[in-house]
């Protein structure tokens, strides 16, 4: 059986890739995808910790991850909706040119 450290390593890598994407890419959709990656890294961690935790027989970790995936899906939907509305407004998805939050 793969030791816990292996899962954690993969999750950290996934998180780093997601973070890098979210920070570097200018396209709003790609930033959203990066964020999704980070979320999934977190989910992977949750499952791993549950499976190697003191009570692997209970389904708590699984439930937690499923909830998290559901919330992520909803968030992605909202995020995409926002991006579309911003696009309609600004005719671009380049985040560097969208600075209306500056107040």
């Amino acid at each position: 059986m793969t030791p816990l450290a292996g899962y954690l390593l993969v999750a950290a890598l996934l998180f780093a890739i997601g973070l890098g994407g979210a920070l570097i890419r200018r396209n709003a959709i790609l930033v959203l995808i990066g964020i999704e990656l980070m979320l999934n890294a977190a989910n992977l961690n949750l499952i791993a910790f549950w499976r190697y935790g003191p009570h692997p027989e209970a389904l708590t970790g699984m439930m937690f991850a499923i909830f998290s995936i559901a919330v992520a899906a909803a968030e992605a939907a909202v995020g995409l909706g926002l991006i579309i509305s911003i696009y309609r407004h600004a005719q671009t998805t380049d985040l560097d040119r969208i600075n209306r939050m500056k107040g």
Partner: protein, 696 residues
Amino acid sequence: MLIQEGAAAAFHPQIAGPASFAVRNLWLVPAVPIVAAGVIALLKQPRRKLSAGLAIGSLGFSMLLAFVAFAHVAAGWASGVAVRETVNFTWIQAGTASVALGWVLDPLSAVMLVMVTFVGLLIFIYSTGYMAHDENFTRFFCFLSLFAGAMLGLVISNSILLLFMCWELVGLTSYLLIGFWYHKPSAAAAAKKAFMTTRVGDVLFLLGMVWLFAQTGTLLFYNNGAGSMEGWALGGLISAHAGLGLTAAGAIGLLIFAGAVGKSGQFPLHVWLPDAMEGPTPVSALIHAATMVAAGVYLVARVYPLMQAGAAANGTTTALIVITWIGSITAVFAALIAIAQNDIKRILAYSTVSQLGYMMAGLGIGGVAVGMFHLITHAFFKSLLFLGAGSVIHGCHEEQDVRHMGGLKAYMPWTFATYAIAMLALCGFPLLFSGFWSKDAILESAKGWEISKGPYYLLVFGAVLTAFYMTRQVSYVFFGKWRGHHPAHESPRVMVLPMAILALFAVLLGLIGTPAWPWFRSFLEGHGAEANLSVFGEPAFLMLLGTSCIVVFLGIGIAWWLYGNRSPAAEEPDALEKAVPLVWAGLRDRLYVDEFYDVTVIAFYRAWARVANWLDRRVWGGIVAGVALAFRGLAHLDRLIDESWVNGGFDKGCEELSTGGGLLARMQTGRVQTYLRLLALAFVVLAAILIWSSRP
């Protein structure tokens, strides 16, 4: 001797013991005229008849009650009882001490009541004629009624406080009536002078009163043995010492006497009385001859037990000696000035001052009866003189200078006849006139005074002067030729009638006080009187009679020799002026007493007023201004510091804050990724910290 007393009760006069009808209702005597005055005050000016009627009616009612009271006392006296009935009540309570008021009916107050109401009523009637054409007729009767009420209240007071209150009220009415013709500046000034001069005495009287109250714990004169004029209180007053070798009784007595000096125009506070002649003549007759000025004498008589308390073997006390000397000096001093006056009323005014001096001396030497007898007789003949003078002034069209009169006996026979009677009574013309008997009693007791013969000689000299100035006045006014401009006329009947009645009494009153039948003295002193005609044959009496005759005829004779039937022109210098011009000038100018006060008391008053004002504006105000200035200086200093340091530092701080704000603001780019970067950075830092802190 049996003394009847009423007892003190709380608040409402409750009568305990044998209080008679007369004493129970005695308060009505002053109350009715005062109420009448209040009603008249509310009447409109044109209600002349009603106001005069109210005034006369109320005083008439008071007179009837006064007669009832007098009859009650006289009946008591006749049956061998010395009546002294009181009604006392608590006015206010201070601590446990009560401030009590009350009234007393005894021979002294009874005699005074009858005199005041009777003379007052006659003068009221006279006034309806004298003031008939005055536009303020109703106001005049309002003031007169108020005066009568206050004076009667003064007479019946059994409480020194009530007496003082009435005392001030008569002062007020005197002020109002002297200044009755207020549009004349001289009248307004004279009114103020009268009030102020008497008030000098009054504040001393006030001190004497509060001292007496504090020392004895009571304000009442007579209160079943607990009053201040009764044994227990007097004993305490004698044993308490007040410094300067005086007992408390002596010191209080002198303070009270100071009040009497002011009111009765005694030297050195006599200056107001001659000026008071600015008032209408009936006022001069009533207030400044018969009643109010005599209130000082009455006051001394009322507190005589206090004055006499602790008498030495020679029967006298310091207070009485002072009274005697002040009285004697006043008698001569005023008589001297009267010689050189030309205003008919001023002569009479100085004569009043002089006669009041006689009364005071009589009280000081001979006791209550002697002083009071002269007070009563004087009230009649002096008010008659004033009414006569008023009649003359009226008849001569408001002329008051005797040099512009003359020969009036032909024009005004009634006035002349009554005036002559009063004048002879004042001079003390032997045997026939009341003034002779009352003045003789004073001279007789002065002659027997053990302390000094000075007063006797002064009073005798004063009697010569009296005869002299009255003869001078009468010969100027009634004898010789008419020197006026318009022909004089006799006064209306309503004025002559009261004069005639007064003249009758100016003669008859002597009968009640002759040495042969000294009814007046025995009535006041509460013992029986026996007629004893043989007194007239005694050498002591004859000797006195002789002296009196010499004195009177000397005065009249010299004056007649100088002035009689001469009718000098008005501009011509006076006969005496030709003889002794310097002395004459001094006397004419009233011996410079007014001038002396002007340069001392009044100048001092003005100077101190200025000093007080200066202190206020410069010193006290200056200190405040200085403090204000100092504060203002501090404020300026503060501003300086503010502007240079404090403000500078503050501004710097503000600038830095805004710079910092700008830096922070620059971070808000509005770009989502900037925020995200920050978040990531924060995440890394947080993770680092967590890892760092969780290391073993």
